[in-house]
Amino acid sequence: MRHLMTPLDLSVEELEKLMDMAEKIKADPEKYSHVCDGKIIATLFYEPSTRTRLSFEAAMLHLGGKTMGFHSADSSSATKGESVADTIRIISCFADIAAMRHPKEGAPMVAAEHSTIPVINAGDGGHQHPTQTLTDMMTIRALKGHFNGMTIGLCGDLKFGRTVHSLIRALLRYDDVKFIMISPEELKIPDYIRDEIKKKGAEYKEITKLEDAMEKLDILYMTRVQKERFFNEEDYVRLKDYYILDMKKMELAKDDMIVLHPLPRVNEIAVEVDNDPRAKYFEQVQYGMYIRMALICMLLNIEIR
């Protein structure tokens, strides 16, 4: 039995295979609409999420399976003081696979240690969000064809933005990927991620002005400054609108550059950018569902031909 805690739980070969599976499902969804008949996914969301939870649930429903779960800690036994270990032991009796989001870092790993069903980390605090990474990787591969030699700009909250951490780790396994990290001083990437980039010898730059990076980028990955990660309201207010991608900045970019965003967006991408053909963040959501469908099948050992 396998779990998915970080994007690195999958080898490059497995990741490529997973993306191939997702492409097959995307090309002919009808063919796979009953492969999970009789299976149940438990979505255990200890903090609010619309996209990720619904994406998992939609993925299972499109495969013919069913869903159960809770969508806030208030509606779970956590309010009674139940541990993550006990919760997953109970859920293992009801469901075939679980996706867990938790505000505490490492909670899904604790669940995996006590589970008898596959557990997927659907986001743990500011730590990891592997299925968002799978979504991002699939979107990049589908739209750009490959990863090697790409220059990716990561912009916004790089300190607490778990999607950024996961994406960097996944991209580091490909050749010659260059990173331009754009963030305010207070929201720079954590040292352990920087250490990993250095260790791999990948080219990287840390800058504060988005305009300075635009013309060099093949991919621009925008992120939201996340209110829920701040202990101090003042800091959040000061940093939340630090970067706003608008058409003026888009004019500096290459014609084939793509803009991605894990969503939800607040103010960091002006609505006017939505109509630019390079804005791919809504398409990205759809890729997210297909890659989750493939992941569910892979962890349940259901073959996709």
Binding site: E105, G106, M109, V110, G125, D191
Partner: protein
């Protein structure tokens, strides 16, 4: 020179032990912490802690002698606390083993994760496990949240 004179004048001797352990070459000042972290304060046996002993190799060092049955001893704790320390295992008054002390790959419940966002801060009964992620720089990170020991 005065220090050398004192060293000669106040040379402290602790007698030989017949069964147990001698942890030597502990960095000066770490002896008491190691005593507590190894749980030696909870053992029903004789323990001698020598601090600030003179050492040709180290200048100053600490040393612990424990007279106890040689069943189990937590080498990982010693390795984590001070991997340059040495251990002699004594039986019938003779050294029968000198186990190699090195940085352990993981340490369990020796140190605690202080990241308030880590699951270890709320989950009951969860071990605090740290993993050696960079042996060169001696970096340990929490198994669950990957926070570097000493970072928080």
């Amino acid at each position: 020179m005065a220090e050398n004179d004192n060293t000669v004048r106040y040379k402290l001797n602790v007698g030989k032990i017949y069964e147990g352990f001698v942890i030597d070459h502990i960095h000066a000042g770490l002896g008491m912490k190691l005593y507590k972290d190894l749980g030696l304060n909870k053992l029903d046996c004789s323990v001698a802690i020598i601090t600030n002993a003179s050492s040709k190799k180290m200048g100053r060092k600490d040393m612990i002698k424990v007279e106890c049955p040689i069943d189990q001893f937590d080498m990982d704790t010693i390795g984590f606390m001070d991997h340059t320390a040495t251990v002699d295992v004594i039986k019938d008054g003779k050294i029968i083993d000198k186990p190699k002390i090195s940085l352990p790959k993981t340490v369990k419940n020796i140190i605690r994760c202080r990241n308030p966002r880590c699951i270890t801060s709320i989950e009951q009964g969860l071990d605090h496990i740290f993993v050696l992620t960079d042996p060169e720089k001696e970096v340990y990170r929490c198994k669950y949240c990957e926070t570097r020991y000493g970072e928080q």
